[in-house]
């Protein structure tokens, strides 16, 4: 992505500072609507998180939310970050293969990821390496199955409308 595509949504200097901060990590930068999108392999997650948070120009101190999207053949973990001082926003998207749903826990970088990861584990079955206390958060103990996944049938909620 060249930098002039960003002029209408994301400040160009912000885009340059992000490129400078993460130049070592193989990833592709995209532009989802008005946020800078970074797609990368899960091996570099912790590294890139640490870099983005500590660097003063990007200053991604606030992890807004961690969402898991179930694309049937694989899962996608979407980290929405934003900085409070410059009010810039970054989205990190990571594809996780269905057979090995494992990610590094980002708690060392953002304390606030604790419950997001536990909820993701409850609803989607994505495990996080290094998470201190992976007890079920939202579902009661002994609940089988992962309700968040597409494979989990919504009990007879079929409305008569649409496709």
């Amino acid at each position: 992505m060249s930098s002039e595509d960003f002029d209408k949504h994301i400040a160009v200097e912000f885009f340059d500072s992000v490129k400078r901060v993460i130049q070592g990590i193989p990833c592709d930068l995209g532009n989802s609507r008005d946020e800078l999108e970074i797609k990368l392999d899960r091996k570099y997650l912790l590294k890139i998180a640490g870099l983005l948070k500590d660097d003063s120009s990007t200053d991604m101190k606030y992890l807004r939310s961690l969402s898991i999207v179930d694309w049937i053949e694989d899962m996608e973990a979407v980290y929405h970050l934003s900085s409070v001082n410059h009010s810039n926003r970054i989205v990190i998207k990571i594809r996780v293969p269905m057979d090995e749903l494992l990610l590094d826990s980002v708690i060392p970088v953002w304390r606030g990821a604790d419950w997001h990861e536990r909820e993701a584990n409850d609803l989607f079955g994505v495990r996080f390496r290094g998470h201190p206390n992976m007890a079920p958060l939202i579902l009661y103990d002994g609940f089988e199955g992962f309700p968040g996944r597409k494979s989990y049938e919504l009990a007879e909620q079929d409305t008569f409308y649409g496709d």
Partner: protein
């Protein structure tokens, strides 16, 4: 470093920690929230929050409903500020389908959302008074909230579950006589705010109970992802209406109250000052309410294009975000993630409750002003 629990345990190994269950049936947990507190005498050593009692699977439900029906789901998330929830959902669909709103619809949304913020802060004021033991604030808070809900009922037909915002505008136009009604409602609110301020804000016992309690530094607050009045009480100037302005907020002039100590009293004060600011916003919006259509042309069966969209707004409790993933051409969203502010605000609770009195646990939990509908979704 050793937590307090280990220190106490190592001091007297055979002593069993007094574990009491605060919740899910408890007058001070603001909903179905359970804390297993390990006590040493009156001091709390260990905290184990349990949530999930109000988990209705809204995100999964929304995958089974089409775009018109999901507004009713969002009313029930943060059931104390319904308009703000509907607003964030409706904005995400408008962003997906690139729909422009008529001017009047924007003004109606700002007026109703800010009135809802006042009502939500008055509810906080009432319950927080009860948490510290005073009975009068609950009546003052609920009396003002009732007056606002009367206006909501006149506009949308329901006091809380309005289902009034639509993608591209609002369901119906305002009833006639709405502007004078809001005018004298604002006078009532000003007098009610004075009553509220005189009862609690300056009372010595209240200050004694809340000052320097549950302190959280700015970095720690941000690290937990805590937003809204709690973050602003810690001195961080982050309000989405100013940081990432949406709708017609840039045209309105209002201030963002900030605290300095980041303790319970500052959180209380920030919310009270926000009531004042919201009254100012509604006054300006009412005076500039334009005429014109209230709904832009939207197909009755909405099929947003492919892609993923994230929109967030300043809910009275913090940064409410909705992440919509749509496969294009389908009537139902492929994935709808709801980022509730109370979910992250509650995470900071266990670190605040270390080595604190049992009575303070109620005060600190009250100062977070959580709503369990938004925590468990």
């Amino acid at each position: 470093m050793e937590t307090k629990a280990e220190v106490v345990k190592s001091a007297n190994p055979d002593m069993a920690e007094l574990r009491i269950n605060m919740g899910p049936q408890h007058p001070a947990t603001h909903g179905v929230f359970r804390m297993v507190l390990g006590l040493d005498g009156e001091r709390i050593i260990s905290v184990e929050p349990h949530i999930g009692y109000l988990h209705r699977g809204s995100e999964k439900l929304s995958e089974g409903e089409n775009f018109q029906q999901i507004t009713t789901l969002f009313d029930r998330l943060d059931y104390v500020s319904n308009f703000n929830n509907e607003w964030v959902y409706v904005r995400v669909v408008e962003k997906a389908m690139e729909i422009e709103l008529p001017e009047r619809a924007e003004y109606i949304r700002v007026i109703l959302a800010e009135l809802n913020r006042i009502a939500s802060h008055f509810l906080f004021y009432g319950t927080y008074g009860l948490d510290t033991g005073a009975m009068n604030p609950s009546m003052v808070g609920f009396r003002e909230r009732e007056r606002i809900q009367e206006v909501f009922e006149a506009v949308s037909g329901a006091r809380m579950m309005h289902n009034y915002f639509r993608v591209g505008g609002v369901k119906e136009d305002l009833p006639d006589g709405f502007v004078p009604a809001v005018g004298n409602l604002l006078d009532h609110l000003k007098r009610g705010y004075d009553d509220a301020r005189d009862t609690l804000t300056e009372s010595e016992i209240f200050i004694e109970r809340t000052a320097d309690i549950g302190k959280l530094s700015a970095e720690e607050t941000l690290d937990y992802g805590v937003t809204g009045p709690i973050l602003r009480a810690a001195g961080v100037d982050y309000d989405i209406r100013k940081a990432d302005p949406y709708s017609i907020y840039p045209e309105l002039d209002f201030q963002i109250p900030l605290g300095s100590h980041g303790d319970c009293y500052d959180r209380y004060m920030v919310r009270m000052l926000e009531i004042e600011q919201s009254i100012r916003i509604v006054e300006q919006a009412i005076s500039r309410l334009p005429d014109g259509p209230i709904q832009s042309k939207v197909p009755r069966i909405m099929r947003p294009p492919e892609g993923d969209f994230y929109v967030h707004g300043e809910n009275p409790r913090g940064d409410l975000g909705v992440y919509l993933v749509s496969k294009g051409g389908t009537v139902r969203p492929y994935r709808l993630k709801i980022r509730g502010p109370s979910f992250s605000n509650l995470m900071a609770l266990s670190s605040m409750l270390e080595n604190v009195y049992l009575a303070d646990a109620t005060v600190i939990l009250g100062s977070l002003d959580i709503v369990l509908g938004e925590v468990d979704r």
